[in-house]
């Protein structure tokens, strides 16, 4: 499956939505630091995988889907919620990449320089996620094709 950048999507997001994400990200980074200072790195580390921006981004997905004028109002609400649900399913797959990121940091930190460790861990995370989503999408498509194929096809004579 081909991935591409859709620059027109930049215009769809309002300035306050960017500000909200910045504030969420900044606040959780500060909070993670304060928690680690107070209760130690053991508890502080848990919050490195805290779903900080996820509620904001899922709400945006729901809102953007609702704004599409292709269906009735009720349909749009349901579609928005389903789209946010699918986004959450992808985030669940994405969290496996987050585990890979943390394992890479833990294993590579004593061996390489800090910046190299960060780059390797981020790449490991993103590549694993991409492959998992590709596999999941292929599986979903195969399942859909199977459902639509008749069990006893009529033979052409």
């Amino acid at each position: 499956m081909q991935t591409s950048l859709d620059l027109s999507a930049l215009g769809k997001t309002k300035w306050y939505e960017y500000a909200l994400r910045f504030a969420f990200g900044g606040a959780i980074t500060v909070a993670a630091g304060l928690i680690a200072n107070k209760w130690g790195p053991g508890v502080g580390g848990l919050f490195l995988a805290f779903p900080a921006i996820f509620p904001a981004s899922a709400t945006l997905v729901e809102k953007h889907e609702k704004q599409k004028k292709t269906a009735t109002r009720l349909d749009r609400t349901i579609r928005g919620r389903e789209a946010a649900g699918l986004d959450a399913a992808d985030a669940a797959i994405g969290s496996i990449g987050l585990i890979a990121f943390a394992v890479a940091i833990r294993r590579l930190m004593p061996l390489l320089s800090t910046w190299l460790v960060m780059i390797c861990a981020t790449l490991a995370c993103l590549i694993l996620r991409r492959d998992l989503v590709s596999a999941e999408t292929r599986g979903r498509l195969r399942g859909r094709r199977k459902r639509h194929r008749p069990e006893h096809p009529i033979e052409n004579r």
């Binding site: 969420f24 980074t29 490195l48 959450a88 800090t114």
Partner: protein, 113 residues
Amino acid sequence: MKELFIRFVVGGTVVSVFAVFDDLLKPKSFAGLLGAAPSVALATLSLTVLKDGKAYAQTEARSMIVGAIAFFIYALCVSRLLVRHKLSALAVTASSILIWMAAAFGLWCAALR
């Protein structure tokens, strides 16, 4: 105070960059990946190494593995509630934070404490 300000700016910037890519990437199935991007972890761990050293960051990374497993459970629950029961995204994602808390602290107490 200065350290907190730097944390806020670095964290906000890294999260925003990942969020912008999240918007730009097509198809959307790839974009959703960045919803769980290691943006907060990237910012925090970089600052932690600079301030407290590599051993401290390694301990945080070990706990992060548990936090990420909790994120997996959280995202699965949110997905199920939204797709099957069609509840409001904000209500589900915000209230399900309790599931993340329970899973993260439960696993941490069981495996790492």
